[in-house]
Symmetry: C2
Subunit: 288 residues, 2 copies
C-alpha cells in the first residue's frame, strides 16, 4: 500500500506542544443526513479514534485497553483541537484524559487507559477463557447495506457510509422493510471499503458500527450516543470483523447497546457498552 489509508488520514493529529494536537475532521467520515443535506456532523467513532491517536502518540503502552467516551456536543466538520493530559503512567497501565474542543467548547471527553495485550497464542499457562462467539451466517448470505440513503451529499461529498462495508445477518434486518424482529439485536460483518487491516482505530468505529439496536424494536431515526466505553482485548487479525450487539433495557428515552467484536481468526477483540437516546422519528429507516 502506498501512502496513508483514508482512515489513517481522517484520524491524523498534528502535535502542537503542551499536550495539544490540531485535527481536521475529514468530510469522508462525516454523517450525511438522509435527503442529501450538506454534511456537517462527524461520525462519533472517528472522533474517538482521533482522540486515541493523540493519546497513543505519547503513551508508554501500545494499546487502548479501556476507552470511556462522553459525547457532549455534536462534533462538526470544522477544525478541532485535542488536549491530552496524562494522569498516571505506570508499569502495567497508563491513563490519560483527552478532550476534543471546537470553538473553545469541549465536544468529546475521552478517558483512556493504555496497556499491553496478550500475544497470540496465549502464553505460559496463565488463566485464559472465552465465552461463546456470536453465530453469523456466511458473509455472502448477509444483507449488504450498500451506500445507504444519504451517503452522497448534493455537493458530491461522500460521507461515513461510503467508507464502511456493512453486511447484516438477514435475521436482524426486518426493520428495513417495516417488520422489526421485536428483539433488540444486530449482527453483521464490518470492514472498510478500502484495503486496510483492522487495528485499534478501526475497532473504535466497529464498536458503534451497526445500526442502532433499538431498530429491532421498531424505533427509528438518529440515536445519539451519550456515553460509550469500549475495551480492546486482543490485536485483531486481518479480515472482516464480526460484530454482535444487544440491548438489555429501554425506558425513559434511554437505551443501552452492548457490542462484541470478533476478528476473522475467531478471537474476541473488543467489547463495548453505550447508553444512547431513542430516536424521535416514527418509523425505522436506513441509518445515516
Amino acid at each position: 500500500m502506498t501512502g496513508l489509508s483514508v482512515l489513517d488520514e481522517a484520524t491524523a493529529v498534528q502535535r502542537v506542544g503542551g499536550g495539544w494536537y490540531q485535527v481536521r475532521p475529514d468530510p469522508r467520515f462525516a454523517i450525511v443526513a438522509p435527503g442529501g443535506a450538506v454534511p456537517s456532523a462527524m461520525n462519533g467513532g472517528v472522533m474517538v479514534a482521533t482522540a486515541l491517536r493523540a493519546v497513543l502518540d505519547t503513551s508508554p503502552h501500545p494499546y487502548p485497553v479501556a476507552t470511556s467516551a462522553h459525547f457532549l456536543r455534536v462534533p462538526r466538520l470544522e477544525p478541532a483541537e485535542v488536549e491530552v493530559t496524562w494522569l498516571k503512567q505506570g508499569r502495567t497501565a497508563a491513563t490519560a484524559r483527552a478532550t476534543v474542543v471546537q470553538d473553545s467548547l469541549p465536544v468529546l471527553e475521552v478517558t483512556v487507559t493504555t496497556g499491553n495485550l496478550p500475544p497470540d497464542p496465549a502464553s505460559n499457562g496463565e488463566l485464559s477463557w472465552t465465552g461463546e462467539p456470536p453465530r453469523l451466517p456466511p458473509i455472502e448470505e448477509c444483507v449488504n447495506l450498500g451506500h445507504w440513503a444519504g451517503t452522497v451529499g448534493p455537493d458530491g461529498t461522500a460521507g461515513y457510509a461510503a467508507q464502511v462495508d456493512l453486511r447484516l445477518d438477514p435475521a436482524t434486518t426486518g426493520w428495513r422493510r417495516g417488520e422489526p424482529a421485536g428483539i433488540p439485536e444486530m449482527r453483521g460483518y464490518f470492514r472498510l471499503r478500502e484495503d486496510r487491516d483492522p487495528d485499534a482505530y478501526l475497532l473504535a468505529l466497529a464498536v458503534d458500527g451497526l445500526p442502532p439496536v433499538v431498530f429491532g424494536l421498531g424505533a427509528a431515526g438518529w440515536s445519539p450516543t451519550v456515553e460509550l466505553t469500549w475495551h480492546m482485548r486482543a490485536v485483531p487479525a486481518p479480515g472482516p470483523l464480526r460484530v454482535a450487539t444487544r440491548c438489555r433495557h429501554v425506558s425513559g428515552g434511554w437505551f443501552d447497546e452492548e457490542a462484541e467484536v470478533w476478528d476473522a481468526a475467531g478471537r474476541l477483540v473488543a467489547q463495548s457498552r453505550q447508553i444512547a437516546r431513542v430516536g424521535r422519528s416514527s418509523r425505522a429507516r436506513d441509518p445515516a
Copy 2:
C-alpha cells in the same frame, strides 16, 4: 431514622469552593487485608460514590446516568479532595469530570453524565423493553458470606465487609471450598447491614459488590479494577438488590466483569462493565 446512615456519613463531601470538595475516607469502608493488617486502602465503590456526591451537589439533573471510573492509584485511608469540572450542562444531560486527589496525585478519575430517569411505571406509550432477569434462589437458600476473613483489623476497626450483607447463590460458591464451577458467573443479594434504602450511592457499591467473577475459574486474590463504567437505569425500590455478574474473556492478565443490578420490585436498575487484573494468588479465598 435519626441522623445520617453509615454510608451517607462515609461518602460525605464538604464544599470548599471553586469546584473543590474535601472528603475524609471512612475506616468503616476500608479494605481490611486478610490476616488482619491495619486497614489502609479504601473500597473503590465508596470512593466512586463519594465523587458522585460531589458531582450531584451542583448537577442540574438528579441521577448519574453514566459513570466512567478509571482507577489510577489505590485510594488510601487519608484525607482527599475532589475537583469537579462541568464540561456541559444541557437540558437532557450534563457531564462533569471529577478527580479524586490524595497528596497532589489523582487516584481516581470519574466522568459522570447526569440526567433524568423514567417514572415508574413507564409513561405515555414511549418505547419500553427489558431483557430476562437473572434467576436467583430465595435469599434464605443463599450462602451468607458473613463478616468474612479480614473484616476486623487488629486495632478493632471493622472494614467494608462488616458494612455489607452478601448472600450468594450456592451454585456460584464452589470456589470457597476449592471447587470452582468453571464458569465465570456470580449471583447474589446485596444490601447494607444497616437499615438504609438503596439509591445511586449504594448502586455504585453494588455494581462491584460480588467476589471477582474469575473466582469461578479458580483465580484467587485481589483483582484490582482498572476501569469500571456503570449506568443507572431506574431509581431502586426498597429491599435487597439482586446482582448477577458474568465475564466474556480472560487473557493476558486482564478480565472483564459485567454486572446487572435488579431491585426488589423486579426492575433492572443498574448495569456495569469493568476491566480488571487477574489476582496473583494461587488459589481462591474469601474476598477482602
